[in-house]
């Protein structure tokens, strides 16, 4: 048997996986990212003469039921027309039988790269924009199941794009208000990223839209602290901490019922209104009212101080 040094092994493993489309239409250039289910390559659509992203599903899928499910998912995701969801242009098969999607190529930083230097207000506005495409997908029966800062990109004009729907779960009912039935066999019992994954998903149980609510709670934690939820303790204003805790509750029933409710609570905080996640104490109320009316309070306090000084001078 030939002795192969590590460098040759690395090269062989790479070239053996390089995708070769069965059609002449797409030219695959170089790998740009790796997702939960496959690798994304920069590609070129020769017919329309545009640069695209080609996501090739990982390695080999031999079970026909899994291939059919993946195809079905691609079709449903292609139907999710939302500015915050990367559009799928085409679906194809490589020479070796692997499936690929052709998508819009999005360039820009990921959320984790973008958010670091932004003020809190801006980060929270960003968060509510992330919620929009997720809520839209839920309304169409799709749960993302792998939401995390790495899977969110910020476009050139500040637009939010939720990426990597490769492990999304699609309901047969067309909405996510109830539990989602698995359409056929899952690719693996547990998919997703541990730090952002709710317990029911980690245990390989059936999930619903509240699994994404949990992950969004993790993203909110990340936006407040700069670290993953399992890597640091919660920081930031108490109402936001409460929102995070409610979103990331261990049982789905204790979480926000849907993404819109979570986003609405963050909006309430931004509007200096009481949030649903935190019963307000008198001190909380004073702080909140103070924050909301700080200009008026500053004017009144300035007026009173001047009155006092004038009175003192007159005396």
């Amino acid at each position: 048997m030939t002795w192969l040094p590590n460098a040759a092994i690395d090269r062989l493993r790479d070239v053996a996986d390089f995708p070769i489309p069965a059609t002449e239409r797409y030219e695959i250039l170089e790998p740009i990212a790796r997702g939960g289910m496959g690798t994304v390559y920069r590609g070129r659509d020769r017919e329309l003469e545009r640069t695209v992203a080609v996501k090739v599903l990982s390695a080999v899928v031999e079970r026909p039921d899994v291939a059919a499910r993946m195809q079905q998912e691609a079709r449903i995701l292609a139907g999710l027309e939302h500015p915050g969801i990367v559009p799928i242009y085409d679906l194809g098969v490589l020479e070796d039988g692997r499936m690929f999607y052709v998508m819009k190529l999005v360039s820009g930083p990921r959320l984790d790269e973008h958010a670091a230097q932004r003020p809190l207000f801006e980060r929270l506005r960003l968060f509510t924009r992330i919620c929009e495409p997720v809520a839209f997908a839920h309304a169409h029966g799709v749960v993302h199941r792998d939401l995390k800062p790495d899977n969110i990109m910020i476009g050139a004009f500040g637009e939010v794009m939720v990426m990597d729907w490769g492990v999304a779960q699609v309901s047969e009912m067309g909405n996510c208000s109830g539990q989602i039935a698995n359409c056929g066999e899952q690719l693996s019992a547990v998919v997703g990223t541990r730090a952002y994954m709710p317990p029911e998903q980690a245990h390989g149980e059936v999930v619903d839209a509240r699994a994404d609510v949990f992950a969004l709670g993790g993203i909110l934690h990340f936006l407040l602290t700069g670290t993953a939820p399992d890597a640091s303790v919660m920081r930031g204003p108490r109402p936001l901490q409460a929102i995070c805790r409610k979103a990331r509750a261990g049982t789905p029933a204790a979480r926000y019922p849907d993404v819109a409710s979570l986003a609405a609570d963050v909006d309430r905080f931004l509007a200096a209104e009481p949030v649903m996640a935190l019963p307000e104490t008198i001190a909380d109320r004073m702080i909140r009212v103070g924050r909301k009316n700080r200009v008026a309070i500053a004017i009144v306090v300035t007026y009173l101080v001047f009155r006092y000084l004038i009175a003192m001078l007159a005396a």
């Binding site: 030939t2 040094p5 053996a16 080999v60 899928v61």
Partner: protein, 240 residues
């Protein structure tokens, strides 16, 4: 190396009632696993060279004789994990019973080039103290790739594609091994072919290599699910 025209999965092969199929199955398995097993025994169990040779032969011979692998259940573990557990158990039992490790009793299915494996250990591996799980896995991948390269060489030799093979070896095997960044133009000059030929030859050879590698992999997996998972891990899309 002679290979069966159609490779059965290990599970099918070792459970087959047909002695020829069973023997082919074990032959395929030994070809892929003997080097990782030998090196693992040298490093984890600290066996001396001769002792490790005997233990490797004896382990496979005993596995065939006692049909160790009939108990393999793809639903519980990957085959390579199962085999390593069998190996550890085998060695532990041997030591416990204080029985001297015996040679394979003439049941060697493929010739095992221990000198070569020992040379690899001395040259590349023995200086480091690796995580042995990772090490076994890395050696398993090395064996699979090396066998697939041998298969490709044999296939191309039979097809008379000497030039095509040379281009593949130069660009995808030798250049990375030497740490050289060479271009298609360099290879074209060295091999006396056009640059477009280099592109075409590499395209075809890589496709053939992928097919042969996956055939090898399929032959050592218990079922489709294990094969898919192992293939996902083995092929990694060009990203570290």
């Amino acid at each position: 190396m002679d290979l069966p025209a159609t490779r059965h999965s290990i599970l099918e092969a070792v459970r087959s009632g047909d002695a020829t199929v069973r023997r082919d199955g074990y032959g395929t398995m030994v070809a892929v696993y003997w080097k990782p097993v030998y090196k693992y025994l040298r490093l984890k169990w600290n066996l001396a060279e001769e002792e490790a040779k005997d233990a490797t032969q004896d382990f496979f011979a005993r596995a065939i004789e006692k049909r160790f692998f009939d108990a393999y259940d793809p639903g519980k573990a990957r085959f390579r994990t199962f085999l390593r557990v069998c190996l550890d158990r085998f060695l532990a039992n041997e030591r416990k019973a204080s029985t001297r490790l015996k040679r394979g009793g003439g049941q060697t299915i493929v010739p095992l080039d221990f000198e070569n494996a020992e040379g690899e250990l001395r040259q590349h591996d023995i200086a480091v103290a690796p995580d042995l799980d990772d090490y076994f896995h890395a050696e398993w991948i090395r064996s699979l790739c090396a066998l697939a390269v041998d298969d490709l060489r044999e296939e191309y030799r039979q097809a008379g594609k000497k030039q095509e093979l040379r281009v593949f070896e130069r660009y995808d095997l030798e250049a990375p091994a030497e740490g050289m960044a060479i271009t298609y133009g360099d290879v074209a000059r060295e091999c006396g072919v056009a640059v477009s030929d280099v592109t075409n030859y590499l395209f075809a050879a890589r496709r053939a290599f992928r097919r042969l590698l996956l055939e090898r992999l399929r032959s050592v997996c218990g079922d489709a699910r294990e094969f898919e998972a192992e293939a996902r891990h083995l092929l990694r899309g060009g990203l570290r």
